[in-house]
Symmetry: C2
Subunit: 315 residues, 2 copies
């Protein structure tokens, strides 16, 4: 296994350009003043299907051979990756099966079904079910993160940050299974080694920190977080290698800090982000990360798929 | 009374530039597909204090003489104008008194107080109280809309739409007392007469339609709408003249259409808009306005000051 290169990222950017939005990087004056830094938000929530996931997904889907496409794609996910794969299958005309937990959020289940994917609602081990169906049905797996094409696709988000804000001092990346941060960190560090890249995990779903500490990928029996977009049960081997190589720091935020951070971020930026996108705010608020008034900080608003009525719980 | 000119708008743009955000005009692919048009959103919710109001407010504040400033500013508003005037006073170092209804939303009251304005919570006639205090205290009135400086300031929003999207076919403008639409319509029509400009009022607060029908400004005893940002009890005389001259159509949407439109707009655009900003969606959904698949439509997301927990009422 080897690290992705700037060439891989440039190829991914060209490949996916017709299908993804070049999302804006917006200044967040009020929230920046409140947090004590020069803050910008990379708006991946505006991406089709409401998250960054289609960057890697389209890069993978467009890299498949005709034979691999003809076998159909299988994926496992509780949410954003599920919607992304369903959208990619519908766009490219490839049949898709998505294994989702039986207790998934209803609007995400409905969205996947509406895009024409076959839905497999699973009560037990999601990954095992997807692997079994892959082998029995001959499907092509679209792994949510542990894949060089996925990493290079997500890296285009980091490349756009450097293009739009070359002087960025610090990039804060919500971290689940490690897909987004491995790509973004590679792009940032290969272009500008002086920029700090920090991954942020919720305490209830910190599989990347645990894996880094163990020196190999570990499994979380039941990750659970308000930041449900980050609740991955496994970390990717290839992602860990990229994180080792390119990430300056990984921090964990307490679960109880995420709700208030989510409310603060929505109310001050006026971006309808999901809780996962607010872990950077939680990290600064809890002191897990320190920032300076002159420091240019970019938070990646990874997605916007949430039940906003739940904001009431933190008002 | 006379109409504002392109020179007035250009002067306003130059005057307020150091203090206002040049807000982005974002494509709204998913919502546009759902509504059947090529949709863009002018993001005034990203403006300081969360609404377009500071455009006109700074243009007025910066046009005051030293003598007028020294007397202090008085304003009346239930929300967005109140926060805007408090921010402008704090920025320019001018004392501000804001008369707000006693039952105003708490976070808006808190925001006004936090910016250092003197708060006058009024149980009865808000306008009468402000006028009485203006006369007894010698304050300078910052009217929320019936003022040429306010109209020219708000017109800069329309000018930016034309600069960013010169081919725009239709602009949909949330309409309360007539401030935003009178300015935006002037800017659009003076630059590009072929563009349709349509104002949209909620059924519970349609004082501009009623005033246009009556041929003079009328008063609504108790305007009440989920789109609380549009619940003006009076229309402005100068605003009506601009609306007569520049607006193609005024439509009213039923109150019960606004909540579902708000939910749809937040969920698909991922913009944390307030209900007032969603009346354009309601107008298309209810058939009050027809759009074509090839039509380039711009909705002005006038503000983002809302209690998002209320989205639960429409899920």
């Amino acid at each position: 296994m080897s690290l992705i290169t700037l060439d891989d990222i440039a190829s991914a950017a060209e490949r996916i350009a017709p299908h993804v939005t070049r999302t804006p990087l917006l200044p967040a004056l009020s929230l920046g003043e409140q947090l004590g830094c020069q803050l910008f938000v990379k708006c991946e929530l505006f991406q089709r299907t409401g998250s960054f996931k289609i960057r890697g997904g389209f890069n993978k889907g467009l890299s498949l051979s005709d034979e691999e496409r003809s076998r159909g794609i299988i994926a496992f996910s509780a949410g954003n990756h599920a919607m992304s794969v369903a959208h990619i299958g519908a766009t490219l005309g490839v049949p898709v099966v998505v294994c989702m937990p039986a207790h998934s959020v209803q609007f995400k289940v409905d969205a996947v079904r509406a895009m024409g994917a076959e839905l497999d609602l699973v009560d037990g081990d999601l990954v095992a079910r997807a692997m079994a169906r892959m082998e029995s049905g001959g499907f092509t797996l679209m792994h949510p993160f542990d894949d060089p094409a996925m990493i290079a696709g997500h890296a285009t988000c980091g490349q756009e940050i450097i293009e739009d804000l070359p002087e960025v001092d610090t990039v804060l990346v919500p971290t689940g299974g490690g897909g987004l941060i491995s790509g973004v960190a590679a792009a940032i560090k290969l272009h500008r080694p002086a920029t700090r890249v920090i991954g942020i995990e919720p305490a209830g779903a910190n599989v990347v920190s645990l894996s880094c500490a163990a020196g190999h990928p570990v499994t979380l029996a039941s990750p659970k977080s308000l930041a449900d977009g980050l609740a991955a049960p496994i970390a990717g081997s290839l992602n860990l290698i990229h994180i080792e190589a390119f990430v300056d720091d990984l921090v964990t935020v307490p679960e109880e800090s995420i709700g208030p951070a989510w409310l603060e971020m929505v109310n001050t930026t006026k971006l309808a982000v999901e809780p996962a996108a607010a872990v950077g705010v939680a990290a600064i608020r809890t002191g897990a990360i320190s920032v300076d008034p002159d420091e240019t900080v970019c938070m990646i608003a990874s997605g916007g798929n949430a039940d906003f009525a739940r904001l009431a719980d933190f008002s």
